[in-house]
Amino acid sequence: MTNSIGEIPLSEGYLVIGSNTTENHPVIGSMIKGQVQNQGKKLIVADPRRIELAQFADYYFPINPGTNIAILNGFMHVIVKENLYNKEFVEARCEGFEEMAQSLEKYTPEYVANICGIHKAGDIVEAARLMASLKPMALYYSMGITQFVSGVNGVKSTANLQMLLGNMGVEGGGVNPLRGQNNVQGACDMGALPATYPAYQPVASEENREKYEKAWGVKELSTKPGLTVVEIMNAAHAGDVKALYCMGENPIMSDPNQEHVIEALKKLDLLVVQDIFLTETAQYADVVLPSCSFLEKAGTATNTERRVQPMHRVLKPWPGAKDDWWIIEEIANRMGAGWTYNKPADIFEEIRKVTPSYAGITYKRIEKEAIQWPCPTESHPGTKVLHRESFGRGKGLFTAIEYTPPYEETDREYPLVLTTGRILQHFHTGTMTRNSRILDETVPEGWVEIHPNDASNFNFTNGEVISVSTRRGSIRIRVRVAERSKPGVIFLPFHFYESCANRLTVDCLDPVCKIPEYKVCSCKVEKISA
């Protein structure tokens, strides 16, 4: 997030797009609902499903899955055409406006309404006018923007809109991606990414290579960017990757195209899985290493607003389980590393030295202060709002972005659009929530959400078990007839191994950031004959 959770009350309004906030980031969802319901703040929501926030919205756009860019361009078309944008900000802080403005010309409300499957084009105009009047407006998004082949462009579009409105670098504004796991932000900050060292320093740079060789006391670090999760699976399938060391991940459940993942894992010479349970993936492992759960750990985690927070040991380690850092160190030392970390604090001290944005953060400080990176020195208070005076590259760059349709289009054989996501009561692959009684009892099994029109076309009744298939696979699952999804779009939560959504999803990737397109693929639904 460019801004902070604590600024929610400072916004005059919110645009929430591609985020089912009240289910996936519930506490932020409640804070936004509270401002809208009790303080009269404005809310605009765009999402293929009539999510809870839609009930609170001044304008709700039930857009077709994968059409975020079109609707964002539609809003900007109106804002530019009616001269509602923040000229001062655009002139002083940004560049590339002319080019982008030109690219917006064709995105008239009618054109956009048609792409997005919205009935009232006039609402786009009114919502755009409303947005321009909200000073400031905060934009929130999540995987509903990024999990497309056009994911990177979707993100750029959100920045275009917020720069156009002058909502960057101000309290209560910003572009605020909501991170789906408690430490995605931290894992990225720490360089658990194939192309960057800690603090996003590219591995391809000779200068960085030298810096880290010196810091780590090693020679010949590789300058060749590595493979992403899905590429790793493909390389394993092709026999190029022979060993996989997998810490706390369950790719069989979480990666797209499950069949392919299983085949890939089977081909490995060595699969090491480090986890708290014998997960679906662990069952294929050559070695399984029992690790501590987060409640048994100490260390730090960085939340979606870049706040680095302390985690403490709440429970004694599970008998026989070890800390993840201890296990890594043991393996490293057996391979000649000579590491001497005795506790998480030793590692954190090293992190501070090689991660400029964390340099000023100490265990002692975060016990008392809420510190958000960048925090370069111990006297620096941290950074609540990014881009206050300038953007990372100096001026904010507008990018002309064209709407492109999702990879898989519906056809005669696969006439419906399948979109996947999470629900309030469960998390990711279910390893933890499905082993927690109250959550598991509340939602014990998966379902597929189908609009009443579709249900009656196929002659489905609520609760009936049907089959859902895509070009990659097929599952059996109970139907939940609900008006939440649009006609023609079905929704499937991906937490349940019995009805695994990723048996169906497509593994095509965004060309830049390699995110899989979880949010759309075409499918068919069929009755199961008795």
Binding site: I5, G6, H25, P26, S30, G34, N38, L178, R179, Q181, N182, N183, V184, A187, G191, A192, L193, V203, W216, L221, S222, T228, I232, K242, L244, Y245, M247, G248, E249, P251, D275, I276, F277, A285, D286, V287, V288, F294, L295, T302, N303, Q309, M311, V314, D324, I328, A332, R334, M335, G336, E350, Q425, H426, N435, S436, R437, I438, L439, T442, C513
Partner: protein
């Protein structure tokens, strides 16, 4: 903003013009007894426990009365104490407060004020109306209306913080009672089990199901950590009993969540003490995953990785780190892959 000055219990204190007397007092470390007031909620002025004397004369509810420049406030004198005892006495009279059987025992605001004011048990001359008890309809929340003081904090907590607006009051006078949605039991309502209402209930009228039978409130120890389930990063106070069992999770006010949680952060932690947890390393021998010692398993991994690195080069090895692990662990994983194995093939599920 201009500050105002007033006198509370003979001490000159300062505050802001839009603050109530109770807020100014609490900012200055003066504790005025209160029940229906909660700093996170709108003010209702219902319980009258927070009365103070203004200018030597009037008794006013300090949680709703605005502080004024030059005001002279007394928070305790004989008259005030008598009035507070009257308020507490009525609450005890109306309910059936038996702390022995109450989850809130030792962690109850009513109990605290009753002890502070040396309250006697109520006379049972006036007939006592048994009220509703709902221990079963929800697997998360239980409700005992016999110890409810109708302070309305739960109603405001659900309406203003969680914004699900489940709780409401029905009927009037001594028949007043809580209802969920349009008069359902909590388990049949649209309650999303966030537990915010329970956390803010001053008594044991609302409590969490899973805490039952896990011990005495004053024996619990508290340690904070960060919720594992999403990027909001809610700070949670985890309570454990002397046996090391996890008893309950409460939102911490200092975190980005300002004390709130969702159902996962409130109830999603049984997994940590599930018998399915792995407790021995496993190594595949003759096709079967079999128990092994840590030494054997670690040696096996190190030897295997070394061999593959030698035969096929470091890029034949890949590592998956985890967004559920700490910064320290993620840092170490990427350092291991880069500095020890020698490849940049390291990623985690940020994109998934």
């Amino acid at each position: 903003m201009n500050k105002i000055k007033l006198t509370i219990d003979g001490k000159v204190v300062s505050g802001y013009p839009n603050q109530t007397i109770l807020e100014v007092a609490s900012d200055n470390g003066i504790d005025i007894p209160h029940l229906c007031y909660h700093p996170k909620l709108s003010k209702s002025g219902q319980c009258r426990l927070c009365i103070v004397r203004i200018g030597g004369k009037m008794l006013k509810a300090s949680c709703t009365e605005l502080a004024m420049d030059g005001m002279n406030v007394v928070t305790e004198d004989e008259g005030i104490i008598a009035a507070r005892k009257l308020v507490l006495g009525l609450l005890l009279q109306e309910g059936n407060h038996n702390c022995l059987y109450c989850e809130a025992n030792g962690d109850c605001e009513l109990q605290r004020y009753c002890r502070m004011h040396d309250m006697e048990p109520p006379s049972r001359e006036i007939p006592f109306h048994e009220r509703e008890v709902d221990y079963v309809s929800s697997n998360a929340l239980r409700r005992n209306e016999n110890v409810c003081i109708l302070c309305g904090r739960c109603v405001r907590a659900c309406g203003e913080l969680q914004v699900s607006s489940i709780w409401g009051f029905a009927e009037r006078g001594h028949r007043t009672h809580l209802i969920a949605d349009d008069d359902r039991r909590i388990g049949e309502s649209n309650c999303v089990k966030c537990g915010t209402c329970v956390q803010l209930c001053p008594t044991g009228a609302l409590s969490f199901q899973p805490v039952l039978g896990k011990g005495l409130n004053w024996e619990l120890s508290k340690e904070s950590s960060i919720c594992i389930y999403c990027g909001v990063g809610c700070k949670i106070d985890f309570y454990t009993n002397p046996q090391g069992q996890l008893v309950k999770a409460m939102g911490n006010d200092e975190g980005p969540n300002k004390g709130q949680l969702c159902v996962k952060g409130r109830f999603g932690f049984d997994f940590a003490q599930s018998p399915k947890r792995l407790s021995k390393p496993l190594v595949r021998k003759d096709g079967i995953l079999s128990e092994a010692s840590w030494k054997e398993a670690l040696d096996f991994v190190a030897a295997g990785l070394t061999k593959i690195k030698e035969e096929h080069g470091p890029d034949a090895i890949a590592g998956l780190s985890s967004a559920k692990c700490t910064n320290e662990e993620n840092y170490l994983m990427q350092k291991f892959m880069r500095a020890v194995v020698g490849t940049n093939n390291v990623d985690h599920c940020a994109r998934l």
